[in-house]
Amino acid sequence: MTTSGNDVTVESVVRGVVARHRGERGALLPVLHAVQAELGHVPQEAVPVLAEELNLSRADVHGVVTFYHDFRREPAGRTTVRICRAEACQALGADRLVSYARESGLPLGETAADGSVTVEQVFCLGNCALGPSVEANGRLYGRVGPARLGSILNGTVSS
């Protein structure tokens, strides 16, 4: 997940990704996921390359990148911690987790100054019977109270 501002690298990554998805119908979403997996985000420089490779207008590609919550225009922290704020987790005090994160200096949507972690909100992780739920680096945690969130955040900061 290294990021490079280097145009040549972005371009070659994007062309490589597109080549791998060439045979798929309507491949833009899988391509964007793959670009983000390799670069950590979808940089602005990727847009014209994608447009050219997939025979779309730049506006079309830009429109798709900005429509979906998953695609980032800027790199996130080395790890992303997502707190579920949907109803079932609300019913179990999800907002206390959000307050805890904010009081720890990590308001939603912002990345820690040292680039270690970004805290975000998410609407439902499919763990609604064992909430409040939190996801960190693709791993799901259930029954998370402020103390457990603290250790999840610490774990990501130290790693």
Partner: protein, 537 residues
């Protein structure tokens, strides 16, 4: 204390992500370490979850008596469990008894979920040994129109929310003459309080593949797409592996089971947009576009993915098809009430003591679900409300809990069954805040195509804020009513059209919360410390 005289014991530890979220991997690891040390002879099988999620991690041991369960097991319990003789099903404070006989499970009617939690999800042998492929084999013996007739006769309605009869949708696709047709499975499951689709994909993925293959045969489709939300990485990985295994076994690809049916299936991952659960928006997303809603007609059955005739069904709908074909339409149709036939997979979540999957015939009441199965709140405080049917569903007060769970009865009461999710709240909930959240969610997740939804939801948040602040309360209440009417009448899809449902139900049943008459209880939820309630219902 070890079991040298015994052959190797089989121990099940779920690999379902809910079970993993509370430590199932660590428990499995502790068991494997004990085996590796040579202290105990055991094999760990990672099954799906039985859906008794408050008991997770639920460990099961195969004994002559049946599968004996222990739970919830923490990794540090493993040594004492093994020492007590868990591998022989011996007694221990965490022992629950024979899992199939636990009242909570035994009282259910598991049809779609019959194998979930029982088998190893990725074992093709397990799948066939437990009745897998019987539906597909039966379907391949029939002409497509007869498969469609069977599904129609079963009364199976779409489980994704709207409840449209599956057979009728399939018939439309079958009657289109196109060469290329698609089957698309909607696995976006964005509703809070719903997780049954995820559990099927993680716990019995071949069943969904089998259902989609039957649909392909029934309508003449050659390609299928499974659109899974990105919030479900475990489901994505499991489905991808299952599809690979199915191809190796000739259950997908060319000449499926030697029948001449060609059908292949692809997984596509969403990108964090709730609206992509709406079927036309999902199709746009599959085509690589912004997930904006298409006006209907044309319906997807006639002009769907890339303009071709397309079956779009929910995970549970497609996963139920194999059993309908295997056991016959009548067996399925006999369950249920009125026009709600078969079983529904209810999902109990939120502030509930015993959350999880309750699969039972339609007609059970909300009270039975929340009180008998659910055991009241997790916090131990009184239940105040339940939101049924996801973020677009109504908040119902306790006085309406005797409503039977069926599509028509709920609609008549101004509510909706939706995907069968039930989210429970205790008396600390602030209903004005919940109503505000409904508008906020709609504003955040609107696809932006129509004004009543895109702008109305933003206005809705502002108006609720003014009401709660006491600013021109009567005028603003009237304005909120108007806004709800406008959104209901003027929205292209149910995102904007149904958001007024949670808002209005909160206003109707809990007006005090909006009028400053009720001080929000500033209380820490109390932990349930009462008697052990496991396995009762």
């Amino acid at each position: 204390m070890n079991n040298p005289a015994h052959s190797t014991a089989t121990v099940y530890v779920p690999r379902d992500s809910a079970a993993r979220s509370v430590g199932a991997d660590e428990v499995a690891q502790a068991l494997q370490q004990a085996a590796a040390r040579g202290d105990f002879a055991l094999d760990v099988v990672r099954n799906g979850s039985r859906g008794m999620l408050w008991l997770e991690p639920l460990v099961e041991v195969v004994t002559p008596e049946g599968r004996v369960g222990y739970g919830p097991v923490a990794p540090e319990d493993v040594d004492s469990l093994l020492a007590a003789g868990m591998l022989d099903g011996a007694d221990h404070p965490l022992r629950l008894g024979v899992v199939d006989e636990l009242p909570w499970l035994a009282r259910q009617n598991r049809v779609t979920f019959a194998r979930v939690g029982v088998t190893d999800p990725l074992s093709a042998e397990d799948y066939e040994a437990h009745g897998g492929l019987a539906g597909l084999r039966a379907a391949l013996e029939l002409a497509p129109a007869d498969v469609v007739a069977e599904v129609t006769a079963s009364g199976l309605r779409g489980r994704g929310g709207a409840g449209f009869p599956a057979g009728i949708k399939w018939k439309t696709v079958l009657e289109c003459a196109d060469e290329l047709k698609f089957v698309c499975c909607n696995a976006d499951e964005g509703d809070s309080g719903t997780f049954a689709d995820r559990m099927v994909m993680e716990g019995d993925p071949f069943m969904l593949i089998e259902g989609m293959t039957i649909a392909a045969h029934a309508v003449g489709a050659s390609e299928g797409y499974l659109y899974i939300r990105s919030e479900y990485p475990d489901a994505v990985a499991t489905m991808r592996r299952a599809i690979g295994i199915a191809r190796e076994h000739g259950w997908l690809g060319r000449n499926i089971l030697g029948s001449g049916l060609h059908f292949d299936l692809h997984v596509r991952v969403g990108a964090g947009a709730y609206i992509c659960g709406e079927e036309t928006s999902m199709l746009e997303s599959l085509e690589g576009k912004r997930g904006t809603v298409r006006a209907k007609p044309p319906i997807p059955a006639v002009e769907g993915l890339f303009g071709r005739p397309t079956v779009v069904n929910n995970v549970l709908t497609l996963a139920t098809v194999p059993v309908v074909l295997a056991e016959g339409a009548q067996a399925y149709e006999r369950l249920g009430v009125e026009r709600s036939r078969g079983t529904q997979v209810f999902q109990l979540g939120g502030n509930i003591a015993r959350g999880g999957i309750v699969e039972t015939a339609f007609g059970i009441t909300l009270r039975e679900l929340v009180e008998d199965y659910g055991g009241g709140t997790h916090s131990g405080r009184p239940v105040r409300t339940a939101q049924v049917g996801g973020p677009l569903g109504a908040y119902l007060p306790e006085s309406m809990f005797d409503l039977p769970m069926d599509y028509e009865a709920f609609a008549a009461a101004g509510a909706m069954v939706g995907h069968g999710g039930v989210v429970v709240f205790d008396d600390s909930v602030d209903m004005a805040a919940q109503a505000r959240f409904a508008m906020e969610f709609c504003a955040e997740e609107s696809c932006g195509k129509c004004t009543p939804c895109r702008v109305g939801a933003v206005r809705g948040v502002e108006v609720i804020d003014r009401i709660v602040a006491g600013t021109h309360r009567d005028e603003n209440l009237a304005l909120l009513e108007d806004l709800c009417d406008l959104m209901t009448e003027g929205s292209l899809c149910a995102m904007g059209g149904l958001t007024p449902l949670p808002v209005r139900s909160a206003l109707t049943h809990f007006p005090d919360d909006f009028l400053g008459g009720r001080r929000l209880l500033d209380i820490q939820p109390v932990r349930a410390t009462g008697p052990k309630t496991e396995g009762t219902a």
